[in-house]
Symmetry: C2
Subunit: 203 residues, 2 copies
């Protein structure tokens, strides 16, 4: 019986994510959060604001960037640019949590790739999805990270743009501070069933 | 040797995501995308626009909603509301990909929880992160989904608000169509190194 359970657990965790299906998981929602490594990772990610004094390898950074660029975008316009900040003086000048991190990534909207008219603002949604991918990838790689908001606070946008010497076509959405975690904060339980409404029919 | 490799692979895939670290992965960025189930899932998620005629269990839907609510939000204000749409008539009236899906989730900003002043627009970023979590969770559960943009296109906002009879305090950011996949589109490779700039120092 024990062997069957182990086999079942291994099957659940070793199959490619897309092949796991809900068959392993649908018995109980919270149980699944522990069995499916992707769901588990989404549920346990939390903001990490203290970091070890240890740099990240180029390969690790590339994985984070690849994860960001894997996000979906409106009409596949990929209206983004990523500024890697590794210089201690720049990190300190940025302040906030960046000053203690070995790396920060400024996720920027690239206005030369943004859509036209009313759809222009979709860059904000697209870059937010990219940011969430980076945060999840960092967590999955044993790193800690925190999303530090910039846009749409105009003063912050100007400050960060000046510091990073961004061309006018780039708008910084945020600065993500990233490093090996120097703290292990418990993930917040933000599940609130009252945040859900069911609409079954038109009437 | 084969046994050692199997043990190594199992260790990589069965440890909690946060404990895996980069030690299994940092050798080569693309190799890691295949070894780490979370990175793999982020990289292979893609928009799915055709669905099987099969409903989702309540537990599966709850996992999707829990994933959404696990996203980070500015000052932890959680400015969101999720409308589950299961009625065939509503799905058809929504049109787009929703009309062929067994389920749609409208991710809405809840203006009673949004921040004040310039920071108000942060609801868009927060709800976008929640949406990306739902898309990734769907993929991890063997489902297919697509983000159908609504906000900030005013006409779409009004149309969806009327159809879903949303109170004035809720603004629909999107409608996610979700179901068991009826197609298996190849994920897009959107990696573009030219989308990255490195800033090492202030000068």
């Amino acid at each position: 019986m024990k062997k069957v359970f182990i086999l079942f657990t291994l099957l659940c965790t070793t199959l490619p994510a897309s092949a796991q299906g809900v068959s392993c998981c649908q018995k109980e929602a919270q149980g699944c959060c522990r069995k499916n490594p992707v769901i588990e990772s989404i549920m346990t990610r939390t903001s990490v604001r203290q970091y070890q004094n240890r740099t990240l390898s180029a390969d690790t950074i590339e994985i984070l960037l690849r994860a960001g660029m894997a996000a979906p975008t409106a009409r596949n316009c990929q209206p983004w640019h990523f500024v890697l900040i590794t210089g201690k003086d720049v990190l300190e000048a940025l302040g906030g949590r960046s000053k203690d991190a070995p790396l920060a990534i400024a996720v920027c909207g690239d206005m030369t790739k943004a859509l036209e008219g009313e759809a222009r603002e979709y860059w904000v949604l697209d870059c937010s999805a990219a940011t969430e991918n980076i945060l999840l990838a960092a967590h999955a790689l044993g790193l800690g990270a925190v999303w530090q908001g910039v846009y749409p606070i105009q003063q912050r946008v100007e400050q960060v743009s000046q510091l990073l010497k961004l061309p006018e076509t780039l708008v910084p959405l945020n600065v993500i501070a990233i490093g090996y975690p120097g703290e292990a904060p418990a993930p917040k339980d933000k599940w609130k069933p009252e945040n859900v409404t069911i609409r079954k029919g038109l009437e």
